[in-house]
Amino acid sequence: MLESFGYLAISWLDPWLLMLTAAGTLAGIYVGAIPGLSVTMAVSILISFTFKWSVNDALALIAGVYVGGVYGGSRTAILLNIPGAPSAIATALDGYPMAKRGEAGEAVGLTTVMSVFGGFVGVAALALFAPMLSDFALMFTSRDYLLLAMIGILLVGTLSGESFAKGVFAGALGVLIGMVGLDPMTAEGRFTFDTITLMGGIPYVVAMIGFFGVAEAFVQLHQLDLPAVKQKIDRVIPRLADVRRYFRVALRASGIGTVIGALPGTGGDIAALLAYDDAKRSTKNPEVPFGEGAKEGLVAPEAANNAAVGGAFVPMLTLGIPGDAVTAVIIGALFIHGLKPGPLLLVETPHLFWFTVGNLALANVFLLIFGLTGIRIFTKIVECPKAILLPLIIILSAVGSYAIQNNPVDIYWMLLFGVFGYFLKVYGFQVGPVILGVILGPMMDANYRRAMIGARNDPATFIWDFLSHPISCVLLIAFLALLISQTPLGRLAREAWRGRRAQGRGAG
């Protein structure tokens, strides 16, 4: 026990490790805030020049970048309506309306505190329940991942926007974009039109940059003549009453984030969406409606995506299975350093486990410090003339698209998605489901086919598998309830329920 505590405190007591964690967290915030610079990319770059370092030094820097990067995506989501990362898509729904009201400082402050809270919950779960969580994550089968991905897309399709049909269309379009390229199972071309260019597929970051960054820049050209909203930054640190008020939402969201983060192959993006939806359903009287700047809509996704960081480390450290893209890269780093993430890691190298826990906690402390001190400078972005900001966003988008695989074709895709995204936005579609579709489409496809092959291509067996397993059954019920709630049938049921309650009151 004492030995474990010693490992836990290493990065807190060593000045060099403290400095590396701080530098990583600060860099991560800015990497996460720039669309096109992903945390995965940053961590990959770090591995290339930290492989000669000691494992503690390398992990300290990487953990800092990871924690900072997940949070950083919310900055541009709030200030510009351009999420820096997919996990910040839900944050933009209420964060940007707050910035439009001049409350960017308060929004970023609240986001910082709740991200840190979520981060600590995730780390605590990693420390206390790692073996249990990994056992639970292993119970999930391919059909459960299929349902989880479908719920994720359906959620973002129904969260806001004009109609359910438009949300589902956008999600399906995203799934389709995600299908472009060679089929990973049979290497058969899908939507490649016999061109080599399309065989490698379309990176989801390019779609994200096009649909969010470029499309948003074109949309904001309509508001070029509007004066910039003066941001109130006199109150950056949230009031204690506010923190207390949103504590329940943050705690629930952190729980969701930790569990979803622990599921291999998922990540902060699904976690944030599920938490946002949970907050929307469980908050009875928000100060302002969701989608118009509700603080609960800001707290939930941010607490969840940072909690998912701790969650993602659970299967990585205990099973050797990456929880998300970043932990997949970190696994590579651990192998480079001669370590073997997996069931024996806790037995052979317990110090690494406890060092990681302590380091992630430290990164969250630095996140609080840097998150609350850089807001004044950051909010100036919103007050910068749009005539300067929008061309810069387009350049950043072009570089970000090119940087992914040094392919000029990706920049053409970026522009095409940008123009198409502009029309989608103008005609009341959301672009969030498109991005989620691109990310989750391949996962859905692979898991559907695995589940179907597992059922020997027999539809009856396939359906029975969903009904006969508890996790699948619960997820199926959740999916169907979500689907029905968006159809006329759901509306009729709600009206009948309200009518019955009114009658009951009348009788009373």
Binding site: L37, M41, A42, I45, E162, S163, A165, K166, V168, F169, A172, L173, V175, L176, M179, D183, M185, T186, E188, R190, F191, V214, F218, L221, H222, L224, P385, K386, A387, I388, L390, P391, L392, I394, I395, L396, A398, V399, Y402, A403, N406, P408, I411, Y412, L415, G418, Y422, F423, V426, Y427, G428, G441, D445, Y448, R449, M452, I453, N457, P459, F462
Partner: protein, 160 residues
């Protein structure tokens, strides 16, 4: 979910275009492996495009149920694709096309200067200064810090 009584300019045409696109993509998805099995590479693309066809039909029917926007093409050009948007799309297109010849730095500098001048309409020297500062910041972050290999121009022989 909001409900509108009036169509936006061009909304019906856009809905028709989405339906046409969805039908074409469904046909392309069918070509992958048709209905030959339940776990073939084409099954999920067909499900996705099939869903797109159904949704775009619903979107089209809803658009038809609304009253027309009025103003025709003129209103579409002023509300949806005003000159500012059109010029910017053209400028971005030219920028992307010029990048392989001019290289990233020269093409980006030129794009920044022209687009900021077009949108901001301030003194040329001020626009040039802002463009240069923006370009320098991007160059430092991407080329120096992240060591991203940015396209070099064939026309200027790798000078930029």
């Amino acid at each position: 979910m909001s409900s509108r009584a009036q169509r936006r300019p061009g909304e019906l045409a856009f809905a028709v275009a989405l339906l046409a696109l969805s039908l074409w993509l469904f046909a392309e998805a069918y070509k992958i492996s048709g209905f030959s099995g339940l776990s073939t590479p084409g099954i999920f693309p067909m499900l996705a495009t099939g869903l797109m066809v159904v949704c775009s039909l619903v979107i089209l029917l809803k658009a038809l149920a609304m009253t027309p926007a009025g103003g025709g093409l003129r209103r579409f050009l002023t509300d949806i694709t005003p000159l500012r948007q059109t010029v910017m799309v053209v400028l971005v297109g030219l920028y992307i096309l010029a990048m392989p010849w001019l290289g990233f730095l020269a093409a980006s500098g030129l794009f920044l200067f022209v687009s900021i001048q077009f949108l901001w309409r301030r003194a040329v020297w001020l626009t040039a200064l802002v463009s240069l500062a923006g370009l320098a910041a991007i160059h430092v972050v991407f080329s120096l810090v992240f060591q991203v290999v940015l396209p070099k121009g064939t026309l200027l022989q790798g000078l930029f």
